[in-house]
């Protein structure tokens, strides 16, 4: 006869084995999809610092020569491209402009959608969702005409501002929709308390409600920043002056020169292109994670 102790031990061994197996499966499932992505980033980083690439894969000869675009104009064949810094500033201008405008409009718009009673509110909200059924690309020609009529086409920095308007216009509906959800989650009591304490509706919004939905503001700020940072089509279509290119358009043109293409430098530029995104993300991530609990009720 098997003793109780033995039985327990047997069950215990089975349990441990089961747990180990479970963890192995979880780790495999979680890690395997990441491996190719990690490999690509690793490859990108090592490429950007290597002088020669054997068979197009194996990097060799450490050099920082690929990063020369940081201090010298980019030359490819006979063509010389503008310095990378003004282009980066253009991109940053576009991304921050879009992000700022989207945050400003959608925090106000989302508040109105969430908190205010007005005619056609439901219809408006349905309409916002419906807007997303159409890709922005079908508006390209119409928008070109509008930009032209407004005198925003072919005017350098002014055109970039025009693109910020378009970009923000396209981003705002979804951002307002997202931020509306955050406003919805703030109890009326808190807003009422602010009103009774001496706030006008606008001060209550700014001093009490907005700080509580910072995670939401962070989210839409990141999304619209990234969308502005990576905007290609609008800039490619509307900006003809090289001085006002943004990074995605510059990279596109560099790839376009296929005869003289310098893959290692392209890797370096690609890496450079991701840096601000990483910085912006790591900064706003803290805001995203700072979610308050427990101000209301016990």
């Amino acid at each position: 006869m098997m003793g109780v102790k033995e039985k327990k031990m047997k069950a215990g061994r089975g349990y441990i084995l089961h747990t180990i197996l479970k963890y192995i499966v979880v780790i495999l499932v979680a890690v395997i999809p990441l491996i190719p992505i990690w490999c690509m980033y690793l490859w990108l980083i090592s490429q950007s610092f290597s002088g020669r690439v054997i068979l197009g894969i194996v990097p060799s000869n450490f050099t920082i020569n690929n990063w020369r675009f940081l201090w010298a104009p980019i030359k490819m064949g006979l063509k010389e491209y503008p310095n990378i810094w003004p282009i980066t500033i253009n991109t940053l201008f576009l991304a921050l402009g879009t992000s700022g405008l989207v945050v400003f409009i959608s925090t106000l718009g989302g508040y109105a959608l969430s908190r205010m009673e007005f005619k056609g509110r439901t219809t408006l909200m349905e309409f916002i969702i419906a807007l997303h059924a159409f890709p922005a690309i079908i508006l390209l020609i119409a928008m070109f005409i509008i930009l032209n009529k407004l005198g925003l086409y072919g005017k350098g920095i002014i055109t970039l501002m025009g693109i910020i308007l378009i970009k923000a216009g396209l981003e705002c509906p979804m951002a307002s929709w997202i931020i509306k959800g955050f406003f919805d989650s703030i109890p009326w009591d808190i807003e009422w308390a602010a009103l009774v304490d001496g706030c006008s509706r606008l001060t209550a919004w700014r001093r009490v409600i907005l700080p509580l939905i910072l995670p939401g503001v962070g989210a839409i700020a990141i999304f619209s920043f990234l969308s502005g940072w990576s905007e290609f089509l609008l800039v490619f279509t509307y900006v003809k002056d090289e001085t006002y290119y943004t990074l995605p358009v510059l990279i596109y043109h560099l790839i376009g020169e296929f005869k003289f293409i310098d893959w290692v430098m392209l890797a370096a530029i690609g890496l450079f292109y991701t840096i601000p995104t990483l910085i912006f993300f790591s900064v706003s991530q803290k805001v995203l994670l700072r979610i308050y609990v427990g101000g209301v009720k016990g």
């Binding site: 808190i190 009422w192 009774v196 001496g198 009490v208 101000g295 016990g298």
Partner: protein, 363 residues
Amino acid sequence: MVSVRLINLCKYFGKVKAVDQLNLEIKDREFVALLGPSGCGKTTTLLMIAGIYKPTKGKIYFDEVDVTNWPPKDRNIGMVFQSYALYPHLSVYDNIAFPLKLKKAPKNVIDKKVKEVAKLLRIDELLDRKPAQLSGGQKQRVALARALAKEPDLFLMDEPLSNLDAKLRVFMRAELKRLQKELGITTIYVTHDQVEAMSMADRIAVLNAGRLQQYGTPDELYGKPSNLFVAGFIGAPPMNFVEGSLVEEPNDYLFVTNEFKLSLGLELGELVKKGMKTSRIILGFRPEHVKILIKPEKNTIKAKVYVIEPLGRDIIVNVKIGDKVYKVIAPPDIVLKPGQDIWLKLDMDKIHIFDKKTEKAII
């Protein structure tokens, strides 16, 4: 401090009449409770006084000033919400200082006031904490402190004790009453708990379905309820009701039901007869106004013991008359067994009689 007058106050949400034709006067320095079941319009009334809801009709006066259309920030009100509604992103100190900062008070004045109020409510140790780090009772006191710091003319409280545990609630009841009397701030207190209203308020306004049922001191409400609703709502355990009719006899009037007959006497009977609108009436008696007898006596009601609920200080005896159950409070030393026959002797000075149709009190 101010007095408050509500004149024909109405609030409709679409077709729903949340508050209907409410007239109420709250004197300066008075503590008034708005009492009623949930959905009776008491919180809506409070929010209208605060200026958060705009009345559909009617006027609100603070002293002699019509404030109906004033925004909340101009009314100088302190409000405590059921959920406390502390600002989660601000520390306790900043929560209390918030209304003062909005008033643009100088920094040293704010600091002095915050510390003073914090000391009064015994939360001076907690000033650096965030609301999330506080217990329910502490949050509640911070909410009170925030409302007090701005030195309001009028104090509004919306079920401030209902999220506290039972022991703390009893403690805070007395604490709030002391605070109100000490500071002399006119206070309107919304609650659904009649014990809270009875124990704290100078006067109670009982509301039901958006309408005022009765407005009076706790004693008046308990001793002379004006209708069936107030009679049933005030008092724990609630008043017992028996439906029956009045039968005239030579030199006497009888209250008659299927189960028993009760002599009302000539004087009382005449009064009831004069006040009756229809033939059916309802007799109401409080559990504490009945005596349990082991042997039959004249003018008693025969009943059977159904369930006994001992409470320590006294016992609640559930008695069955016919197939209906009534509650009676008895002294703890009485020995009863379920199923035992007993006789109930009502204190005839303290019975209530209501008209069945209008539900209004006849006596």
